[in-house]
Structures are given as C-alpha cells and as structure tokens.
C-alpha cells in the first residue's frame, strides 16, 4: 500500500542558508504521524515544503504516488492537503463564517454537502457557531486555533498538516486540541503533526519522526517510545 504522502530527500534553502539537508518521511492513509524536534530544526519548513510554500531545490514530494513537488499551493489544497500553520493565520478581517467559506466554496461541492460540512464543524466547535459573524481577529488564541483547524476541514482533506497546534494555549485548550486530533483521525484524515509537546504527540500519533539540524534522525513506532527514553532526551532535552 503506497503511502499517502512521501517526502523523498528534500533540500531547501533560505537565502544562502541550507535549511533542510535531505529530509525523507512518509505518511500512510489515515495515519497520525508525529514530527518532533527542537526549535529551528526544520519541522515547519518540512510542512511548508510539502504544501508548496517553500520549494525544494532537490528531492521530491509525492502525493498518492504522484509527484507534487512543483505544483502551486492552491492546487495542493484542492487535491486534499490541508494546512494549519504555526500562529494560526486566520483571516483577521474576515468573519468566522467567511473564513470557513474560503475552504467551503469549491467546485463540485453541492449546497447540501456544504450545509453538512458546516453543521459538522459547528457541532465540533460550538464556540465558532456562536461567533460566526465576528471578525477572525477578535477571537481568542484558542478560538483562532479551532477556526484554523475547522477552516482546513472545510477542504475535506485527505491529510492535514498541523504545525504546533498547542503552542501558546492553556492546558484546558491543549486537551481540546488532543480531542480534535482524534476527531480528524476518526473522519479518516491522515495527520502530520509537528509539535514541541512530547507527551501529547506520543499519545496521539502512531509513528514518530525526530528531526535535528534539517534531517530526520530517528524513526519509531509511537507506542514503543516513552517520554523518559534516552532518545527523546537526546534530541529534545533541554
């Protein structure tokens, strides 16, 4: 069974700086895969490379077996890759409803289906239903995170790239995010989860990659890893 997303030895540069030195990983259909590592090792960059926001100078990204490395970002979104960036990036001047519509208003989606999707998301995130006519920028940090995820769900994605969803959130919200990841998983979406929160990631994921200095250094099945393990300490310890 070929993986949903396969990243093959990609290298990226930021100006003269060589940010990814040959990253390879894969995510299977419906799988939750965690990507761990300290700040600045290239986790976000890897997600951006998959999403076409950063172009690899070398290497390939494959989606359902086909190369997507040089496709424009908006095509990737239409193909079924959802992206929830670090710092959320909701459209601050658009209402919650309008934010959702950016993903909802697509070709080939019937009005009935749109209503369905909307209701589903409002069920999962009642706060968003309440604030549906409020501007995105007026929401709290946690609410914006929910909006960012809900917005990606409007695309009915096959895989969601989640970049540090719990960053800056209160513990109560963190557990809510944990639940949302489960929801996404149940909906059948694969997830590539970039996180600094190790326990959460180990709990939520099926497999883990650990990155250091622009490369993947370790790969393991999540259930075999403990927070206290030497490996974790080596790559993530303070």
């Amino acid at each position: 069974m070929e993986p949903l997303v396969k990243v093959e030895d990609i290298h990226t540069y930021y100006g003269k700086s060589h940010t990814l030195h040959g990253v390879s990983l894969e995510v299977g259909r419906g799988e939750v895969v965690g990507l761990l590592g300290r700040n600045g090792v290239g986790k976000s960059t890897t997600l951006k490379a998959i999403m076409g926001i950063v172009r690899p100078s070398q290497g390939d990204v494959l989606f359902e077996g086909r190369p997507i490395t040089h496709l424009p970002t908006h095509r990737l979104a239409r193909l079924g890759i959802g992206y929830v960036p670090e710092d959320r990036r909701v459209f601050r001047l658009l209402t919650v409803m309008e934010n959702l519509r950016t993903g909802l208003d697509r070709h080939g989606v019937t009005d009935a289906r749109k209503k369905q999707l909307l209701e589903k998301v409002y069920n999962y995130f009642p706060v968003l239903a309440e604030r549906r006519n409020q501007a995105g920028g007026t929401l709290s940090g946690g609410e914006q995170q929910m909006l960012a995820i809900a917005r990606a769900m409007m695309l009915e994605p096959k895989i969601v790239l989640l970049d540090e969803p719990t960053e800056g959130l209160m513990p109560r919200m963190v557990s809510q995010i944990r639940q949302i990841i489960d929801v996404l998983h149940r909906e059948g979406a694969a997830i590539l989860l970039v996180e600094q929160n190790v326990p959460l990631t180990l709990e939520a994921s099926q497999r883990i990659y650990i990155m250091e200095k622009g490369v993947v250094r370790h790969h393991a099945v999540a259930s075999e890893l403990r927070v206290s393990d030497a490996v974790i300490h080596q790559y993530l310890g303070v």
Binding site: I53, T73, L93, E98, T102
Partner: protein, 299 residues
C-alpha cells in the same frame, strides 16, 4: 499673509463657497473612482501602479472612438471599461506577474516604463490635439447664481454607484471573499485552495477598468489627450496614501477631502497652484500619521 481668516472668508460670497463645495465633491468622487482601483491593486499585491493614469487616459480615448462609432455615451463607457480591463489583465500577466517576488522597486520601474509606452502610444495613435467626449446630456439647473450642468451631478452619483457596487461585490459573494482573503494573507489564501494567480489578474483588471470608467466619465469635463493621466496619477497616489494604503473606505474619504480642499484653494490661487495643497496634506500625513489620515491609529 496678514489678513485675518474671517476677513478672508467674508470676502467670498457664501454661494461661491457652496458651489466650490459641490465642485469639490464632484472631483472628489471621480478621484475616488480612480483611487479605488489603485488602492485595490496595492492592497492585494503591493504594486504601486504608476501606469494607472495611462489606463485612465486610454479609457477616455476608447470612449472617444466608441462614441464616434456608436453615438451612445453609455455604450462607450461600458466598452471602454471592458477593453481597458482586458488590457490591464494582459499587462499584469506579461509584465507584473514575473516580478511578483522581487524588490518592490522593480514594479515601480516596470509600471513607470509601461506608462511611458502607453503615453507615447496614445500620442502616436491619436496625435497631440485634444479630443472631446460629448456628455450624454447637456442641460443645466440653477445652482445659486450659476447654471450648473446636470452632467456633473450625474458623474458624482454614477461614481458613487460604481464604488457602491464594488463594495457590495467585495463584501458578499465568493469572489469578493477570495479577493479579501488574498489581500490579507496571500499564502493562506492559496492554502485554502483559492486560485491566487488568477485572483491577482482579475483584481488588476478590475482596477484598470475602474480607471478607464473614470476616464470616460471625466472626459467631457476636460479635453482627452495623451498627457491627461499624469495629473491624476499624482492625485490618486496622494489619496491612496492619505486614505491608508489598501484601505478602500479611507481612500474614498480622502478623495472627497482632497477634492474639497483643492476646490476651496482655487478660490484664492490658480488651479495649477491649488495642487500644492494636496501635496502639503500628503507630506503632513506622512510625517504625523503615516498609515493614513482616515484609518484608526494602529495599536
């Protein structure tokens, strides 16, 4: 100037002041129409379109030709708007899109080059003699002691209507959301599947169309000639900066403001010198409220 203000104002009959107010609003509305295209373009792609005045000018010329061919002003208006919108799209795709990632200086230069080419093209095709667009209806009404042409009022109303339609388009409807989303965060708009490259092209075309419409509407008030764009480019820039770059509502308010200021100023100085007023407003704005006079102070 040792003359006290009251004495100055007393010297001007109230009626003249009121007429200048009306004039100011009329000019302001046209300016708003031109500026709205400019600010839309800047807001969504950070491009300072130096060639905007030439799109205005070419719109007027297309209006002249169509009017001569069909005898109908309104058809001329529509044809000019659509033609120049297409021209705008073509210019964007060939010249500006390749420059998107680069230093903003390059787009200023490129649009400056385009304005040179378009200006000289018009000079070549139409010659240096000014043409006239006949207004769709003559006829005056009495505004105080003047016979004020209906047409001027109609321009103001029509401009307001077009801007209103633009606002509605942006506020409701999927494409309006796409445009606003792209303006706010181009990368995330793409990540949501919005076809940003074509949205940018469409917005540039809309901006160009708006400029062309202003050109046709304003045509009957002045002569149509190849240099008419220069003046308007400057004024439109001032309006866009004073109103807050990328802020549609702000640029409309700023247009009226500047229109009125220059109108009042021309009570004392010649129109050629009245422009200095708007220059001074610009400089003051940049010094003290650089994000725009009509924008709430940013946090």
């Amino acid at each position: 100037m040792g003359i006290p203000l009251e004495q100055l104002l007393q010297a001007i009959p109230l009626e003249q002041l009121l007429i200048q107010t009306v004039n100011g609003i009329v000019t302001g509305m046209i300016l708003a129409l031109v500026a709205s295209g400019l600010t839309l373009i800047f807001g969504i792609m950070d491009v300072v379109n130096f060639a905007h005045g030439e799109l205005f000018m070419l719109g007027a010329y297309v209006g002249v030709i169509t009017l001569a061919a069909t005898g109908n002003f309104w058809v001329a208006l529509i044809v000019a708007t659509l033609t120049i919108a297409l021209l705008g799209a073509a210019i964007y795709v060939t010249t500006l899109r390749p420059l998107l990632g680069r230093d903003p200086l390059t787009t200023i230069l490129a649009t400056f080059g385009i304005s040179l080419v378009l200006q000289n093209y018009a000079l070549w095709q139409f010659g240096p003699v000014a043409r006239k667009i006949q207004e769709p209806f003559t006829g005056h009404f009495t505004l105080f002691y003047l016979d004020y042409p209906w047409y001027r009022l109609v321009i103001a109303l029509l401009s307001a209507a077009i801007i209103g339609a633009l606002w509605l388009f942006l506020k409701f409807g999927t494409y309006g959301i796409w445009i606003r989303a792209t303006t706010q965060d181009r990368v995330m708009a793409q990540a949501m599947g919005i076809p940003v490259p074509s949205v940018l092209t469409v917005v540039f075309a809309i901006g160009a169309g708006l400029a062309a419409a202003s050109g046709v509407l304003f045509g009957p008030l002045v002569g149509v000639n190849h240099a008419m764009g220069l003046d308007w480019v400057l004024k439109a820039f001032i309006v866009v900066v004073v109103g807050g770059m990328g802020n549609l509502g702000g640029s409309i308010a700023a247009s009226i403001f500047i229109g009125l200021l220059e109108s009042y100023a021309s009570l004392w100085v010649s129109p050629a010198q009245a422009v200095i007023v708007s220059f001074v407003v610009l400089i003051l704005t940049l010094l003290f409220r650089p994000t725009g006079l009509f924008v709430p102070t940013p946090k």
